[in-house]
């Protein structure tokens, strides 16, 4: 049964993601983070709303734009930052970096930097849950561009054929790098296509954190009654550049008012409105402290030593 939306926790997670991403922006010029970063700023409501609806047993598949998904899942922030720094106390001892975070303790699976390639794995994991009669559902985050890869449709077909417990969370920020969706597909077809592949789909435009929480909870209830796949298309806005910490406003690849609109409607403001100033203060302090600890943890960690290069090629 569905629990009440936890506004306080939502605000905390949302803020932690936002501040963490902003911290990356601050530090990026120091070149301490020597790898591409795909920021989630503007898309936090989805990750937070979805994550609040999940149980510990549920499994998360994300992608290279995974910071929000990782933090919203309450995965280890120290290790994430150490990984961004390429340090040996990171989630992959530095071998993965921002594009390949993982935290098995939170069932957050290693992410891929190849678009759409984790989709069938999420389906395969859901297949295994059913095979082993194990509880839990799989959450599979992906972008709008990912739905253009053939493997995406092969995966949906198998998920519907085998009635697997999986929810595809399509974060439709309308762009693949600098290319608008209209240049890649005709008339905004994602949910219609997913439905035709036997995956019940729903679209939410610029939803609030609570909206995403509610629709996810609903799908989970349905799956608990009858195992079958769902897809939630979440129309959202990427505030920053596709990769890196700028906003690419100089490139004129989009109407910047799209972003102004999104910033005005930032759900962080709404979430904050509903909290007392004490609570807000407490949470802000906590977020700052956790983030500071995480950065210090990363700073204080060592780089992996040369011998590690050959570790874990084979198991």
């Amino acid at each position: 049964m569905k629990n009440k939306f936890n506004n306080e926790k939502a605000y905390y997670l949302y803020l932690l993601i936002r501040k963490s991403e902003e911290k990356i922006i601050d530090l990026y010029s120091t070149d301490k983070i020597k790898s591409p970063v795909h920021l989630s700023i503007g898309q936090e409501a989805i990750a937070v709303g979805v994550s609040l609806a999940l149980k510990d047993e549920d499994i998360i598949f994300s992608n290279y734009r995974g910071h929000a998904h990782y933090i919203a899942r309450e995965a280890n922030l120290d290790k994430m930052w150490a990984e961004l720094y390429g340090k040996s106390r990171g989630t992959a001892r530095g071998k993965g970096g921002s594009m390949h975070l993982n935290d098995w303790g939170k069932k957050f699976m290693p992410t891929s930097a190849i678009v759409s390639t984790a989709i069938p794995q999420a389906v395969g994991y859901a297949f295994a849950l059913k095979y082993k009669k194990q509880n839990g559902i799989v959450i599979c985050y992906h972008g709008d561009g990912a739905t253009e890869e053939g493997v995406f449709w092969e995966s949906l077909n198998f998920a519907s054929l085998h009635e697997l417990p999986i929810i595809f969370i399509c974060e439709n920020n309308k762009y693949a790098i600098y290319t608008h969706q209209d240049k890649r597909v005709k008339n905004d077809p994602i949910i219609e296509r997913a439905n035709s592949f036997g995956v019940k789909s729903k679209k939410i435009k610029f939803g609030s954190t609570e909206d995403y929480y509610n629709v996810t909870s609903e799908c989970i209830n349905n799956i608990n009654n009858k195992s079958e796949p769902y897809l939630i298309e979440c129309v959202t806005t990427r505030w920053k550049d596709h990769v890196g910490t700028g906003d690419a406003s100089d490139l004129n690849y989009r109407d910047m008012r799209e972003i102004d609109f999104a910033i005005e409607h930032d759900d962080l403001i709404n979430l904050e409105k509903q909290l007392s100033s004490d609570v807000i203060k407490k949470i802000k302090l906590q977020v700052d402290r956790e983030l500071e600890n995480a950065v210090n943890f990363a700073e204080a960690s060592n780089f992996p030593n040369k011998e590690e290069l050959y570790d874990n090629v084979y198991g």
Binding site: T117, Q121, A128, Y314
Partner: protein, 349 residues
């Protein structure tokens, strides 16, 4: 381990079936899937009726979606299962390269050992009777090239069973290469469970004059060549590497240091192929070894028999080359004796 066990005379296909059957029996996480695995023919009998024994969820047919189904197997492996994905032809692995090379081979490394991918990719190499350009490719070198993937290509029924068991139990992605022309070859196979380990090759015939290394079906060709070579007094040592990644370099180095001559008979194209890897290792690590390679002709495989026959190495062409390397008469042409399994094959596929 399999010292005193009862052995049965069974063929290569039955040996593979037995490995699947027995591993599925002792490990409920093992399952088999792929196009037609549960159809009445059961992929040359290697998966026949397994679904009736172990249930539809442990041996099942699939949509035509090789890329997706590779990823689905990887995902199931990440969840602790041990999938065996069966392909009717190795050519179809070209649809799976992204999942195999970008994902299966990398996940353990990019998670620093937190996860591994115990999946077995079984692929049958097609040959003869008009398989043509798209049903005859043998792409072992692609997978040998990529760190994080193991590759094994057994030749005998004994090794087929033991190598498949080792592959299923291995915690890494394994490309397991079968060959259509080997399925009916018979041999003595222990009824028990046993592993043929990765990284260990086998000397199938000892000899002092020249070392001949084959791979998959060309090991069979090489053995036949060695019979022909006896006729001209050449005593060839025949090596079956079995495991292609990792390779038993030591075994080959030792052999060539004895014979001073190395002929690698590739079951595939030679450029950047298995044969170039073997010769390169010897060139770097051994002294004064004269090396040669033969393999598929550097063309797509033609369908018509008149060209298909000369596209492949044969016991004759191998023997002639080896004899030349041993200083024999280059005009020598041993009797043509086409392989029975090839001449007797009448399709339909």
């Amino acid at each position: 381990m399999n010292s005193i066990v009862d052995k049965k005379l069974i063929n290569y296909g039955e040996a593979i079936y037995e490995a699947c059957y027995q591993e599925m029996e002792i490990d409920k996480n093992v399952f088999v899937y792929g196009l037609g695995v549960d159809d009445p023919k059961g992929h040359y009998g290697t998966s026949k009726d397994l679904h009736k024994v172990y249930g539809k969820n442990r041996s099942f047919d699939v949509p035509l979606s090789e890329d997706g189904l590779t990823g689905i197997g990887i995902g199931a492996a990440l969840a602790g299962l041990r999938p065996i994905y069966v392909h009717q032809r190795m050519d179809f692995l070209l649809l799976c390269m992204n999942q195999l090379v970008n994902m299966a081979a990398k996940i353990r490394y990019i998670s620093s050992g937190e996860h591994s991918v115990p999946i077995v990719i079984r692929a049958a190499v097609g040959r003869s009777w008009g398989q043509g350009a798209q049903h005859s490719q043998s792409l072992q070198s692609f997978f040998m090239h990529v760190p994080g993937i193991k590759v094994i290509a057994p030749t005998t029924p004994h090794d087929a069973k033991g190598a498949l068991i080792a592959s299923i139990r291995d915690n890494n992605p394994v490309v397991f290469i079968e060959h259509r022309m080997l399925y009916n070859n018979a041999g003595y196979v222990p009824s028990s469970l046993y592993e043929v380990p990765f990284g260990k090759g086998r000397i199938l015939k000892e000899g002092n004059d020249i070392t001949i290394v084959g791979v998959s079906y060309t090991v069979e060709d090489s053995l036949r060549a060695s019979e022909l070579l006896k006729g001209v007094g050449v005593n060839a040592e025949i090596i079956d590497p079995i495991s292609l990644s990792p390779i038993d370099y030591e075994l080959i180095r030792k052999s060539v240091s004895k014979t001073g001559k190395l002929l690698v008979v590739d079951n595939g194209w030679t450029t950047c192929g298995f044969s170039s890897e073997i010769i390169t290792d010897v060139a770097i690590n051994c002294n004064n070894v004269s090396c040669e390679r033969i393999g598929f002709s550097e063309t797509p495989c033609p369908t018509t028999p008149s060209l298909e026959n000369i596209f492949y190495p044969t016991p004759q062409s191998i023997a002639v080359k080896a004899n030349e390397m041993c200083g024999g008469d280059s005009k020598w042409s041993p009797p043509e004796q086409p392989a029975k399994e090839i001449t007797s094959f009448k399709g339909p596929f």
